[in-house]
């Protein structure tokens, strides 16, 4: 009888913990689309500037019972900006003799690259794997880099990339057309949003949802 009671108490406790664990299971496995359509498409994007951005990705796991664990990595992002020539319309071009007025499409992010090869883990400030060390798991590291990317993307506007890209695009177009015998005046359409290649890609998938 005693044994029976003991077993039932153990069972109750186990059920309690399993319930708690399953809550976290649902949390961990939030649905992610994993189907990426393979496609090859034509485009006409002229990138005139590349910004190399560095960001330190660091995080701390606070563990009241055990020692805290740390993660520290230097990362680099490469951001290319320019214009989409497919958005250049005939009305944007005025030709009078050898004088050309060009009203170019707004500057946008042509490519955002946050390559894994540029992530340098700083061993000195990162907790090494070990029993009870609490080192960051592979999944946790990936999660930190994802947060790093989101943070960089959210702050691109502050980098003054539009002005530099406009200047460089103007120079490049002038170089091309002046060599062809034209005198060129270049202006840009303005856009409140700094659109990016990512928006265009995301649109395809958002539309499918």
């Amino acid at each position: 009888m005693k044994l029976h009671k003991m077993l039932s108490q153990i069972a109750v406790l186990l059920i309690f913990f399993i319930c708690l664990s399953s809550c976290s299971l649902f949390d961990k496995n939030k649905s992610k689309r994993s189907e990426v359509v393979t496609k090859l498409k034509s485009s006409a994007k002229l990138a005139s500037v590349e910004y190399v951005i560095t960001k330190v990705v660091k995080a701390e796991k606070v563990r009241p019972i055990l020692k805290n664990s740390y993660f520290f990595a230097h990362t680099e992002a490469y951001i290319k900006a320019g214009i989409d020539l497919d958005k250049l319309k005939e009305d944007d071009v005025e030709v009078e003799g050898n004088r050309v007025k060009l009203h170019l499409p707004p500057i946008e992010i042509i490519n955002f690259s946050y390559p894994v090869d540029s992530f340098r883990l700083v061993d000195k400030y990162t907790t090494k794997p070990g029993i009870f060390a609490g080192a960051f798991t592979l999944e946790e590291r990936d999660e930190l880099y994802k947060q790093g990317e989101t943070s960089i993307r959210e702050n691109i506007k502050e980098l003054n990339i539009v002005e530099t890209a406009e200047k460089n695009t103007r120079n490049l177009i002038q170089k091309l057309l002046e060599a062809s015998g034209f005198e060129v005046y270049v202006t840009f359409r303005k856009s409140e949003e700094l659109s990016s290649d990512h928006d265009e890609l995301a649109k395809d998938y958002d539309d499918k949802e």
Binding site: S24, V36, A47, K55, V116, L138, E149, S151, E178, G181
Partner: protein
């Protein structure tokens, strides 16, 4: 007393379970609940660090083709790549790695084992290469014979169709000619009867007329008999050539079947050998841990105009037209990217890198191994893009873009010349 004992038991039980869960949490054996924040298991946020502009580069890249795709790579791929890099270094520069070798072995702990087993594996590889070459030769011979047999078979099939058609024609002609001859013979007999009657009545003029008509009928019969004979000759000739063809075909068929049987036998042998070889390699290079990543990203290709000089454009103006020649380098891969996020919007979240399979404790994986698997994903994505024709697409679409761009300014004839091979593409604007 009983209550005290019970309470004591519950305290011990809870303590044991608690410790168990701490250990399980630490070892990542269980996906622990939020309560385990006590052990640092809750979602960790990165600290708010500033962005620093390291460099601003002036570039001029015209992206003309984009490839989006998904690839897989595992730890075996990563080690193969590292091993190849190591081997190439040794072959090119000799054993000059020095202390770098130790750091390589720390980053890739299984590399040393791979190098130690290199000789064994290379022996196996050599044997496999030899067998592959032998099988390739047999395969080529089989394919050549098959091509010849297929072409003979095509000819044989067409000859057989012609034979059948010829047979039908022969039968049809024979039937029609015989009907015509029978009809003419009836008429001839009829004329003979009438001539005899007219002769009995001494109607000489009419007899003469009738005899002329009868002679015509006899000529017709003769013509039909000639046609009948020609028909037969033709049919016999067809039969003869068909029989010859049949003999040739049978000879080739026998030869083909012999080669095919030999090929099938050797193919089975080679496949068994290949299976054994792969098992052997797998056994010798097997790892006690597994890591497979899915990588989703893009490859972009186009013209690099960064070093574009005014001399790269030639303009020739005549009285009514302007000709422009643009000298550019051939399109190349400009970027290959798999970012942490493939897409992240409010509606859609698709990871750039996603762990598909992980076997072994996290402690067993080094950062370098993780990075290398991801890096191999990128290499595979680039290879896939090239295989899917991104460079050709970039060339076609890039030429179109450049031509359309200059046409906006009224330039009529635009020629694109590639610097390295002087191949030219000419576009003319109508009117």
């Amino acid at each position: 007393m009983l209550l005290f004992r019970k309470l004591w038991f519950i305290i011990v039980l809870v303590a044991v379970l608690g410790i168990g869960f701490v250990v399980a949490g630490e070892m990542n054996w269980l996906p622990l609940p939020k309560i385990s924040n006590l052990f640092g298991k809750s979602e960790v946020k990165i600290a708010d660090t500033p962005l620093e502009v390291k460099e601003v580069k002036d570039i001029g890249e015209l992206i003309c083709a984009e490839f989006y795709g998904e690839v897989y790579a595992d730890l075996n791929d990563a080690y193969r790549a590292v091993f190849e890099e190591y081997k190439q270094h040794i072959e090119t520069y000799g054993d000059t790695l020095g202390i770098y070798r130790d750091s390589m072995f720390t980053d890739f702990p299984l590399l040393k084992n791979m190098i130690d087993k290199r000789k064994d594996i290379e022996e196996l590889n050599k044997e496999f290469q030899k067998k592959s070459e032998e099988f390739k030769a047999i395969s080529n011979e089989y394919l050549t014979k098959k091509a010849v047999y297929d072409s003979i078979r095509t000819v044989y099939d067409s000859v057989m169709v012609a034979y059948k058609k010829g047979q039908e024609e022969y039968i049809e002609n024979k039937r029609n000619f015989n009907i015509a001859i029978d009809e003419l013979r009836d008429k001839e007999r009829d004329f003979s009867r009438q001539i005899r009657k007219l002769k009995r009545r001494n109607k000489e003029d009419e007899v003469e007329q009738m005899q002329e008509s009868k002679a015509n009928i006899e000529d017709n019969i003769k013509q039909y008999i000639d046609l009948l004979n020609e028909n037969l000759d033709r049919w016999q000739a067809t039969q003869k050539s068909t029989n010859e063809m049949k003999e040739v075909y049978k000879r080739y068929e026998r030869e083909y079947n012999r080669i095919k049987n030999e090929y099938d036998r050797k193919k089975d042998g080679f496949n068994n050998f290949k299976e054994d070889y792969e098992e052997e390699i797998e056994e010798r290079t097997s790892m006690d841990k597994k890591l497979v990543y899915i990588g989703r990203g893009w490859v972009k290709a186009g013209f690099d105009l960064t070093n574009f000089e005014p001399d790269d454009i030639e303009v020739n103006k005549s009285s009514d037209t302007t000709n422009l020649i643009l000298h550019v380098n051939r399109p190349k891969i400009l970027v290959t990217d798999i970012n942490p996020w493939f897409i992240k919007t409010k509606k859609t979240e698709i990871e750039g890198y996603e762990i598909f399979m992980k076997k072994g404790s996290d402690r067993k994986f080094t950062n370098a191994e993780q990075v290398k698997v991801k890096s191999v994903c990128k290499d595979k994505l680039r290879e896939e893009a090239v295989r899917k024709g991104i460079l050709n697409n970039a060339e076609t679409s890039g030429e179109e873009t450049l031509i359309q761009f200059f046409q906006l300014f009224g330039i009529e004839n635009i020629t694109i010349k590639y610097k390295e091979d002087n191949n030219t593409k000419l576009a003319k604007q109508d009117g």
